[in-house]
């Protein structure tokens, strides 16, 4: 059935080729540096060298094209990977910065409460701002502390920089704080150190500009003077804000000849659009103690 001659020839060919290979290997390993196989190798390399160079040069455009395609593909995947890394790092950076900012605000709150003018006995409750209006027209924020934490309506709220506003609505776990930049806000304030008194009201749409009104034109108000809450404003009506909480500093004074009062522009210390942590002053200070703490 099978051609025995062909089989023998086939096997013999294989045996010869294998024997040749092994023989070449053996000779090659036993060959010295200048041996015949080494010379043959160098000779073949000399002959093949120009051919290989020619082929390499001739096919370089093709190789470059394939390489370019590969590079583009790998660049695309690398770009995607790097974009992912950038996004991850950006998230981490944002988290770190947020944590840093929050820590700074908490530190500022602590520092504020240690100031000499700060009213004693106010029992502050630190709260995180969890929501705030995106527009400048509605100056209200929501905090994560409510009646369960002792927060009640009309309690003053401060940040690390100064007075922020007051609680206007409180539920069990959260509360709404109306900022002093809200059009409904009015805070009795005094210009230090002369204790010139007036009422701080906002200028609509200008969260960085408050107006201290009802200042007698005869009173001299200096630019850069500190403005703080005045506390009790009259014997009949008690101020919601304890005395001595810093509000801002005088920017400029408008005093027209026909005006009955001076209009003092005050820049608030607290940045109302970047509030993360605030403190709700849940207890009223003793009046006498507050008077002692006057700057």
């Amino acid at each position: 059935m099978y051609d025995q001659k062909a089989i023998r020839r086939r096997r013999a060919t294989l045996a010869v080729l294998v024997a040749l290979s092994i023989g070449l290997l053996t000779i090659f390993f036993g060959d010295s540096a200048g041996g015949r196989l080494q010379v043959l190798q160098r000779g073949v390399q000399v002959v093949l060298g120009p051919i290989e160079t020619g082929v390499s040069v001739a096919l370089k455009p093709l190789r470059d094209a394939i390489g370019w395609t590969g590079n583009v593909l790998s660049a695309q995947s690398e770009n995607e990977r790097l974009a992912g890394e950038v996004a991850k790092l950006r998230r981490e950076l944002a988290q770190a910065q947020t944590r840093g900012k929050a820590a700074a605000q908490v530190r500022a709150l602590e520092k504020l409460s240690r100031r000499p003018a700060y009213p004693d006995g106010v029992d502050p409750v630190t709260a995180r701002v969890i929501a705030q209006s995106p527009t400048v027209w509605y100056s209200r924020v929501r905090i994560d502390k409510g009646t369960n934490d002792g927060v009640r309506v009309d309690q003053p709220v401060v940040s690390g920089d100064g007075l922020v506003g007051k609680v206007t609505r409180a539920t069990g776990g959260s509360a709404i704080v109306t900022l002093i930049t809200d059009e409904s806000s009015a805070v009795s304030a005094q210009v230090m150190p002369d204790s010139t008194r007036g009422v701080i009201k906002p200028e609509l749409g200008k969260p960085e500009d408050l107006l201290l009104e009802f200042i007698d034109p005869k009173q001299r108000v200096r630019k850069g003077a500190l403005v703080a809450s005045a506390g009790i404003s009259s014997s009949k009506l008690e101020s919601l804000f304890p005395r001595g909480i810093p509000i801002g500093e005088v920017q400029r004074v408008d005093s027209g000849e026909v005006d009955l009062y001076q209009r003092v522009h005050v820049k608030p210390f607290a940045d109302m659009r970047r509030l993360d942590f605030v403190q709700v002053l849940t207890d009223r200070p003793d009046l006498e103690q507050a008077e002692v703490g006057l700057p």
Binding site: R10, L14, L20, S21, F28, L48, L59, G70
Partner: protein, 194 residues
């Protein structure tokens, strides 16, 4: 295939062209970190179209040229490629694969056997640490096998084109004959379709 002068010339030129092309133009092109290896594909193609003996001879010649041209250990590639050619050729002789997609598994098998065989020879020669096989080498071999499998069909077609005049039996023609004309019935007679 009869080992005529024309056949030997064609195979010789093919070997030279493929080896030169491989070392000077193909090897630098990296796809997924590895390069296509046309040499085992050539041996497999010759095995499929010409049989075991021409394939073993092709493997030997291509290996020798590789070893000499790249200043490798002369005989190492020859030994491995001789076995690869003979093995694939014997498979073709015994199983007669006439399927149109046969080049793909044959090319992949030849590449895998060449890679594995070369590693074994390198280990025997003390070129590779026998205590560990690096993951990189395994990955590289797998990528080359896949790339060669993808390239097998067009490459085998080119080799067939080059050798067609010298082939005694063309697997493609055989397949066509086996299929039979479409307008005939199962026993080859018109009008007796089932």
């Amino acid at each position: 295939m009869s080992l005529s002068g024309g056949a030997l010339t064609r195979i010789g030129l093919l070997v030279l062209a493929v080896v030169v092309l491989q070392v000077s133009a193909i090897a630098p092109i990296r796809v997924l970190g590895s390069a296509v290896d046309l040499v085992p594909l050539l041996v497999a193609a010759v095995a499929l179209y010409a049989g075991a003996v021409p394939a073993a001879a092709t493997g030997f010649a291509a290996g020798l040229l590789l070893d000499v041209g790249l200043a490798q250990d002369i005989g190492a590639s020859s030994l491995v490629l001789t076995f690869v050619g003979y093995g694939i050729g014997r498979y073709r002789d015994l199983r007669d694969p006439a399927h149109g997609l046969a080049p793909i598994p044959m090319g992949a098998a030849a590449t895998a056997c060449y890679g594995a065989g070369f590693a074994v020879v390198a280990m025997l020669l003390g070129k590779v640490d026998t205590t560990s096989v690096s993951l990189f080498a395994v990955r590289d071999l797998l990528v080359v096998v896949v790339l060669n499998a993808l390239l097998a069909l067009p490459f085998f077609w080119l080799v067939r084109l080059a050798l067609r005049r010298e082939l005694n039996v063309d697997p493609r023609e055989q397949r066509r004959r086996r299929q039979g004309p479409r307008d005939q019935g199962p026993i080859g007679l018109r009008g007796l379709e089932v």
